[in-house]
Amino acid sequence: MTTTPMLEIRNLHARIEDREILKGVNLIVPKGEVHAIMGRNGSGKSTLSYVLAGREDYEVTEGEVLLDGVNILEMEPAERAVAGLFLAFQYPIEIPGVATMTFLKAALNAQRKGRGEAEISTPDFMRAVKTAGEKLNVDSDMLKRALNVGFSGGEKKRAEILQMALLAPKMCVLDETDSGLDIDALKVVSEGVNALRGPDRAMLVITHYQRLLDHIVPDVVHVFSDGRVVESGPKELALELEAKGYAGFDGEKAA
């Protein structure tokens, strides 16, 4: 029996200004699986994540993106989130003046409203944030500050995963969630991510170090180069990549 993949990307081309960055991405992530994308800096990984999330600066010139069978390319970023897509940013944005708790509640209720569900009550919300926060070492002091403002690199990444846990998306895209984390923080974040693995959820973990994949063990590894997937294989592919370097896969010289 075949089931609808959680994410299916077909021949995706995208450009920014006059420069083509994505040059025909093909990728399928079935439900319940965690896939990794590895590729050198500048290969277009973040671009792929932004195009999936619907950032305006990019122009999609060809291809399709299906989320649980539904084409999302015509949707606004907010609609994609309501449909179940979540992007953990490589560089989470600092927003002065917007309190973290206010933001979390607005996001959660916007998604519930978009799905025709009732607003969450304040006690339930507080409890949900507290539970998620404890697992990720996000203390109430951090939550009292403005969104991401003055957070350390590690705090920002933990806050992203906290949002992910609260919003419970179907499809999680994690862009370089390991960057800027020391080994302890990496463990905390990985445990947080692993706790969210489940049969009705899929994940796409973007990284350019093999290290993260020791903690978040993927089902499939894709090698990304110059705007497309050039090779896919089991998790051992990550080790091979580490040993041979990207040049062994894409024939380009190391950057």
Binding site: A53, G54, R55, E56, D57, E76, P77, A78, R80, A81, V82, L87, F89, P92, I93, I95, P96, G97, V98, T102, F103, A106, A107, A110, Q111, G114, A146, Q163, L167
Partner: protein, 400 residues
Amino acid sequence: MSAGPVLKLTEAETTLVAQLGARGAAAEAERLLGAGLPTRRVEAYHYTDLRQLLRSVPVLAEAGPATQGPLSIPGAVALSITNARVGPIPTLAQGLHGQKGQGGVLAQRDDVLVRLNSALAGEHLALEVKGAVTVPVVIDRRIEGAASHAAGAVKLFVADHASLTLIEVFSGSDAAHVGNHATAITLGKGANLTHITLNVMGPTATHFATNEYHLGAAAHLRTLVVQAGGALSRTQLFPTYEGEGATAAITGLNLVGDGQHVDLTMDALHAVPHTASKPLFKTIARGRSRAVVQGRLVVARNAQKTDAKLMAQGLMLSDEAEILTKPELEIYADDVVCGHGSTCGRLDEDHLFYLMSRGISKSVAETMLVRGFLAELIDPITDETVAALLHTLIDSWLER
């Protein structure tokens, strides 16, 4: 006498000269006859050319019945000035004393709005505060009935170590009124005042207000001037730091919409050593509109250790909006920390995208960011009912 060219008076000037004459202010009438209203050649009015902008002035306001303003604050002491007449003064909270006084309240100054108010304000509301008054005092300053010209005045004395929150709400019937209001405030030693003024005049009104502040030793003042109404508005803030250790957070918010010209002008004098101020003025402009923010810091020769930083921030929500900012420092002391800065821009696309990527719709995300831009002004207002009122006012402006 020089025989220079005789000024051809505008319609507004002609009316004002007649009104001054009728009120027995011959010298002021003579002066206006000679000089006219200030034009762009007068430095302080460079971006608000009154001669051009103030087309006509309606008749002087007749006495009208005291009426309720549009904003109410539960539990507040409610006072009123309607059509420049002081309304009935109820029994006031402990520590608060109010009475009607004659004439204007502002110190002499070479400024046309000050001179006009002083000449035309027949009476004023005089308030005195002793001790800590915990309920806010609200003065509804209304112009009722057909279009008229009203010059009302308030004088407030906050005694040594006393504290108060004063809110003045400027509103009126929907007519082309010209309000030219004055508020003169003196803070004694260690006194603490929060002074909020809200301009919610109708869309065809002209609103002028002059707030004069005298700060005694170790006094602390927080102001928030919100200008949301009127076709033409200008609020002038004249704080003088007269006692050592006086500090102030002078803040202002212009909410400027299509067709409006809104001016917020501060001219501050740090007269003695060891005083500090952080003026912060924010403007949100949309539609075809013009906002003017002027700030001048004068530091006297002996006012060493003055710590003053002026900041102006603008947020443009349309291409046709214009925000003009003019900071000026005039420093005669040598051991001071003074500066100014300004920023002006649109909502940040990265901020919007981040919020939207979490499921928040574009319009809600925009509102969150605008509120975030204003948080610095509203968050320090500790009285919850007052803060709630400000949020309501801002939200209704945003939804307009």
